[in-house]
Every structure is written in C-alpha cells, then in structure tokens.
C-alpha cells in the first residue's frame, strides 16, 4: 500500500467526462497517492478542485477552465497551455503553466503561487488579496492583456515580458483599475494610458527587488531561465494611490 | 438561593438600573416625585462601572462568606434567613463604615441622608429586584445560584 502511494499514478483522461476524471483524481488523492499524472487531458474542467489531500498533479494536454479553482493543498504542473479561470479563488500551493494561459487567471486568489511561462489573457489577478500569512503571487513570463490586477487588494503580480515581439504591449489597458492593495511589478515600461486611474507609478527600491527575487528565483529555476539577466533590467512598480479609492464617493 | 447575575457582555451602560434603584428606595417610589421632590434623593445602591465600551452594573453580591458581616460591630448587618441576602438593619447601623472598609467589591456606601450604610437589599418584598426587572438588555438576571 505504502509503496503504491509513492509510485506516481497515471490516469488516462481520454474520453473521460470532467466529473469522471475528477472523481478518479480525488479517489487517488484520498488514497494518499503523492503524484498523479494525467495524460490526454482535453479540456476537462476543475482539475484539482476539491482535492482534499496534497498530491502533485502533472497534466499532459490542455486542462479546461477553472483549473485548480478553490484549490487548497494540492499542486499542479501543466506541461502545455491552460485555459480560463486558472486558480479561481485559490487558497494555497502552486500552479505551473508551461505555456500560455487564458483569462481571469488567479481571480480572487488568496494564497499560493501561479507561474505562467508565456502569455496570459484578460482580467488576470483581479481582486487578489492577502491575509495574514497568506500571500498570493502570480508571475507571468510573457505579457498580459487588459484589466491586469483590477481591484487588486493584496499580494504580488509580476509581468516579465520575456520573448515579446516588439509590437506587443506588456500589459493591455486599464491595468490596476480600482487597485487598493498589493503590488504589481512590470519588467520594462508601462505607458500612462495603460494604467487605471487608481494606480501610481514608482521606481522599485532594494526591498522590492528582494521581494521580486524571492519568487523570481523559484520561477527561473522551474523554467530553467537565467535569473540574473532577468532581474538586472528595469522594473516598473505599481501601487494603489489610496487604500480607500472610493472613500470620498459618498455624501454622508 | 437567588442572586443577581451580571453579564458584562450585554450591559449597555444606560444606567436605568440606577434610576430604578433610586426610585425603589425613595419615600414615594414614584419616579417623578422622587426626582423632582425628594432632597436629598436616595443614592443608588447599584453602581455602573464604565471604561470605554466595557460597562457593568455592580451591586452587593450577598457573598457567602461576607466580610461585612464579620466587620459589623453593631450587628446591623445580618443575613436574611429566608433569602440569604445580606441586609443592613437601618435602626441598628451607626455609620462606623467598617463594612465599607472590608467590602472587596466596594458596593456599600454611605447613605445620602442618614448616617447609615446603604447597600443592595435585593428589593426585599419585590419578586424581582427592580434593576433586573428594568434592565433593557437583560444584562442583569435574577437566578438561583449554584449553592
């Protein structure tokens, strides 16, 4: 039994409905299997959601929406691309996407890390928040689309803009709209028109670089990137202008 | 034996207990007459302590091992056989304040008009002490004590 749970368990997702697949994953996890390898994944949703123990799930193929939604305890590594809603209201541990990811990644994420090697879609990191020792972190290797970090209330968002084509913009428009907590770091420059009116631009200081470094080192190790060459370029730091952006909206 | 239980969590600090205590121990027992016509008006035998939002009303605890009973040199302070309440016989009290000196709760005071000790008498004669009856948030309860 013990030797069984130490062995990686393979699950072939071909032709499986998401409920069937997730049932198999949960059953394996409940048995105490430490490493679950999913192959032939093709758009099945909610992988990693409601998995109560802490296996590592490797995914071959393209997982569907809401990968790791409400995730707590297990960790996920996707060999290729991900879809929308990755890490929705995620609580802890780590999701690694080796390719691109879709929209609303890390929505309302409260803890853990999401590392994406390439680009992400719209509305990424909306309403991330930290609480006590829970500190959500998203690092995007490529670029992000509009509404990055909207309503952000806490945590850390880093966009690296690696392998960008010249025409691409590292973030879209409305970056940090309604932001009232947390920190966004963007490698390189952001144009003022790209920012929501609630954010302010700063030069990162020494502490900021050590914060970035803490997570970026892990990121670089995971994706075999050269940390030093990435960190030495300039970063733009975005902070909320106020922790109470809407404090003066009302007549009392 | 029935005692007044104080629940600090729900004491709002309104001091209605003091008002009703004053009226109960007045000559007329009528609130308007007490406040408008009695000089001096009786001092409340319940005391609301207050610090920020923490408030509670405190009155004689009618201790099982009451130091005031030992300290009273006239025998004015006595325990009522029926209710177990610690009471002060006003005819015997000479106002030596020994009871004030030994009460660890500080709930015995000098009467406002006579030289006698003034303390909670559980509103002898009433079913429920008036402070309990009139507490708008049931922060005071009249309950059987464990002993």
């Amino acid at each position: 039994m013990n030797s069984n749970i130490l062995k990686p368990q393979r699950i072939d997702a071909r032709d499986l409905n998401y409920r069937e697949l997730n049932r198999l994953v949960k059953d394996a996890a409940n048995k105490g299997v430490k490493n679950i390898r999913l192959t032939n994944v093709n758009g099945q949703r909610y992988i990693g959601t409601g998995v109560n123990s802490s296996p590592k799930i490797n995914i071959n193929g393209v997982p569907g929406n809401d990968l790791g939604a409400f995730m707590d305890g297990c960790s996920i590594d996707v060999s290729g691309n991900g879809e929308d809603g990755i890490g929705n209201t995620m609580n802890s541990e780590r999701i690694v996407i080796n390719g691109n990811a879709g929209d609303i990644l890390g929505y309302s994420m409260r803890g853990g890390e999401i590392f994406v090697r390439k680009n992400v879609g719209y509305r990424v990191g909306i309403h991330m928040k930290s609480y006590k020792n829970m500190y959500p972190v998203i690092i995007i290797g490529g670029c992000a689309r509009d509404f990055l970090g909207e309503y952000m209330a806490g945590g850390l968002l880093i966009v690296l803009g690696l392998n960008m084509k010249n025409k691409n913009s590292i973030v879209g428009s409305y970056c940090g709209t309604g932001m009232h907590g947390g920190k966004i770091f963007i490698r390189g420059n952001v144009e003022p028109w790209q920012l929501g009116k609630e954010v302010r631009v700063y030069e990162p200081n020494k502490d900021d670089f050590s914060l970035i470094g803490k997570y970026l080192r892990i990121y670089c190790r995971l994706f075999s990137l050269d940390f030093d060459s990435i960190i030495k370029t300039s970063f733009t730091k975005l902070l909320p202008g106020s922790s109470r952006p809407y404090g003066k909206l009302y007549a009392y | 034996m029935k005692r007044i239980r104080i629940d600090e969590k729900y004491c709002m600090g309104c001091r209605l207990c003091e008002v009703h205590c004053i009226v109960q121990h007045s000559k007329t027992k009528n609130i308007l007459k007490t406040y408008m016509g009695e000089y001096p008006k009786p001092a409340p035998r319940i005391l609301v302590e207050e610090k920020g939002y923490i408030t509670f009303a405190l009155q004689c605890r009618h201790c099982e091992d009451a130091p005031c009973l030992d300290a009273c040199m006239t025998g004015a302070m006595y325990r009522d056989k029926e209710t177990g309440a610690v009471l002060c016989n006003e005819d015997k009290c000479v106002g030596c304040w020994m009871c004030i000196m030994v009460c660890p709760f500080g709930v015995i005071s000098r009467s406002s008009d006579k030289k006698i000790a003034s303390k909670c008498d559980l509103c002898m004669g009433e079913d429920i002490p008036v402070c309990v009856k009139n507490c708008p948030n049931e922060a005071l309860k009249y309950e059987d004590s464990k002993d």
Partner: protein
C-alpha cells in the same frame, strides 16, 4: 448550679466569644455550649460605648446579637461571673461564685484591659478608662451629677478620639494629650493626622502633642479632679479625665497554667493554644491587632475548629474606620512608612478635606489612608489581603472612577468567581 458540664466553654462574650458560637454552630448544631461573662449585659458592642456616651445609641441598642441569639443557638449564658482558675488537664474552669465548669473544648476570649497610667492622681474621682460599657455608664452618670466644662483625654489614639468625639457632642471642651508628635500616630501619617487635628481644633479642642500628663489634681480635700499638669508644667482645667493609652491582654486566668503566653496567649493558625482543645481568640491573643473584625473572625475560626471544622486564620492587617468631626476616615495596613522600599501614591483635595494615600511595596499595596472620601475603600483592602500585584493598574489606583473594572483580570475573576458575576 454547682457543676456544669458542657461540650464547649467560651470565656468572654464580646466579638470573639459570640463569633465562636456562630463558628461552632456552623459545624456542630447540637453540642452544648456555655458562655461565661464577667459583665452583666447579655452582650454589647464595645465600640458602641462612645455612641452610647454621646447619647446617639440607647442602652437597648448596644447588643450586636439579640437576646434570643443564645436560646436559638442553644447556649447557656452565665453572666456576671468570672472564670478565676483553669485546670487544663482536668478541663475544669472555676468561677468566682464557686461553681465549676467541666468542658471538653474551651475558648478563651477574655479580651484586654485598659492600661491605667501610673500618674499621681489617677485614682481621683472623675478619672475614667474607656473600654467597657460600665465605663461609659459611669462617665455618663458622672457628667449627669457634676457640671463638666472641661475634659482631658489622655491618649490621642482611636479610643481616645472616640471619647473626644462623644464629649464634644455633649458640649464639653476637650483637651487631648498625646505622647507622640500627632494624634492617631499609629494609624495615620502626618497629613491625615493634620486634617483631623485641624478639624478637632476647629471644633474647639486643645491638642497637646509630644506631651504627657504629669499629675492629675483636685482642689483641697475634694476627691474630684479639677485639672491636670502637663509635663511641660502647663496647667489644663479638667472636670473629667479619660485615660486611653492602650489595652493589654487579660491573661490572669492562664498565668500559671500550661498554656503558653507572652504578652498575650500564643495561638496557631487554627487559633488553638499549645494545649489541645483550648483555643483563644481576640484581644487576649499575642500579636493581635485589637480591632473588631479581627476578633470576630478569629472567634469564628476558633469555633469552627473546636467543632472539628477545618478553618485557618491567615493573619490580619490593621484596619480602622472612624468618623471624626464629620470626616470619615479609613486606614488600612502600613500607612506612615517613609523608607525607600515603599512607593507612595497620594491625592489631596485641600478644600474638601479629602486625602488619599496608597503605600506600595514591590508593586503590592501594603497600606492606605482615606480621609474625607472613603467610598469603595474595601476594594483596596481586598487588594492588600489577597496580595494582588498591581503593577498594571498603578496609575489607575487613585483615579476618580477606580473600581472593580480596573482590577487585574485574574483577581477580578477570583473575586467574582462563585458569586454570579460574569465580568
């Protein structure tokens, strides 16, 4: 009655004696109890004699337990009889009227006697002590018979001042002679004494401190006192002299028995003497602070233990509450210490004659004085008795609204633990 057999014998019928009855009855509802008293009143409160003298309390209000108290508790009360000899082996007490009482357990609560100063003239008419009801009655009679204009009270302690107050009340001009540099020197500090001295002077008293009476004088062959001469040669008119310089334990009964004594009778925490089943309580005991609550508590504890209870006397602190010239005062514990190891907190409102003082030692209260405002003084007594660390509430101790709420949480819980207070 020639021979009386009793389970419990109590000699003395004041605070300790009566409390002992209550203590015994708490544990033993039936065992026979006999009480011997050398006085003829079935009981009375000694501290009330000054109120009696002043006419504020009638004779019938003197008892602190009613007459039925004894029958209700099934106690045989023997009045006007003195226990003269004690056989601790045979457990027999011999009374002055020739009877003997055979007992199983005994409480000696014979109290103390006033110390009469060795002064020339101290046997003159009109010179009185002031500790017993008989004294008060005698003084009252004397005042009734003679026209008394001036009185001298020797001793500015509590008993003396209680006498002073009664005399002022009766319209007599009083002079106080005190050996120390101020009145109430054992319980008060200079400031508190000062406030009371000022008030007494305002009420018409003369106060002679650092002084003593050298001689008590009468005119010619008349045995009636007329004046006193002070150590300083000053002559002070005196139609009445009251001596109040202290009391000493009444230990005549136990002298020459196997009961250990020093100045008073030696007892353990159970109030038992070195002789098994023989207890002592109140002013007759060694190292007792002669105040009512102590005597009462000791008596009760002795009683419980005599009836095979298990009570312990954990010691007492000096405590006094007196109202002089309309100013209520309370003093507790150590009050007039000036050494470095004591920290002093003070508050004074001169115009209202209000003075409060708290003496701290290692963040514990060891004494306080309250003059003018004594509300909630007992809270401080509690802090002293329970040896509560007050480091966190030091700054609050003298605040206007200091109360239970300000007490350290642990103590507050201890205090209210079983009396239905959820604070």
């Amino acid at each position: 009655m020639k021979t009386l057999k009793t389970e419990y014998l109590i000699i003395g019928n004041s605070a300790a004696g009566v409390a002992c009855i209550e203590g015994i009855r708490k544990v033993d509802k039936t065992g026979s109890i006999a009480v011997i008293s050398d006085e003829n009143i079935f009981n009375y409160s000694r501290p009330l004699i000054s109120y009696f003298l002043a006419g504020k309390v009638k004779k019938r209000a003197m008892p602190f337990r009613d007459k039925k108290f004894y029958s209700r508790n099934n106690v045989k009360l023997v009045l006007g009889n003195t226990a003269e000899k004690l056989d601790t082996k045979k457990r027999i007490a011999y009374l002055s009227h020739g009877e003997k009482v055979v007992f199983n357990k005994l409480l000696i609560a014979t109290g103390g006697s006033p110390i009469i100063p060795e002064i020339k003239g101290s046997r003159l008419d009109g010179v009185f002590a002031f500790t017993k009801f008989g004294d008060a009655v005698a003084i009252k009679d004397y005042i009734k018979k003679h026209y008394i204009k001036h009185a001298v009270v020797i001793g500015g302690g509590l008993i003396g001042l209680k006498a002073v107050e009664a005399l002022i009340e009766l319209g007599i001009k009083v002079s106080i002679v005190e050996l120390a540099d101020r009145i109430l020197s054992t319980t008060f500090d200079t400031k508190a004494s000062g406030i009371i001295q000022d008030a007494l002077r305002k009420a018409g008293c003369n106060i002679f401190t650092k002084n003593t009476v050298a001689e008590i004088l009468s005119k010619g062959e008349d045995k009636k006192v007329t004046s006193v001469t002070l150590k300083t040669r000053k002559q002070v008119p005196a139609d009445l002299v009251i001596t109040a310089i202290g009391v000493s334990p009444n230990i005549q009964l136990v002298k020459n028995t196997s009961i250990s004594i020093n100045r008073g009778i030696l007892v353990d925490e159970a109030m038992q003497t070195n002789v098994k089943d023989i207890y002592a309580a109140g002013d007759v005991c060694e190292k007792n602070i002669p105040i009512w609550p102590n005597a009462f508590k000791q008596g009760r504890i002795a009683g419980e233990n005599m009836a095979s209870g298990n009570a312990e006397y954990t010691g007492s602190i000096a405590m006094n509450s007196v109202e002089l010239c309309g100013i209520p005062t309370i003093s507790i514990g150590k009050t007039s210490l000036e050494q470095d190891k004591y920290e002093i907190l003070e508050m004074r409102k001169k115009e209202e004659s209000i003075y409060k003082k708290i003496v701290l030692e290692n963040n514990h209260i060891v004494g306080c004085i309250f003059v003018g405002d004594i509300e909630r003084a007992g809270i401080y007594t509690g802090l002293i008795i329970n040896r509560v660390d007050i480091s966190n509430i030091k700054d609050k101790l003298l605040e206007e609204d200091f109360g239970v709420l300000a007490l350290p949480e642990k103590y507050r819980k201890h205090l209210v633990g079983d009396v239905g207070l959820e604070v």
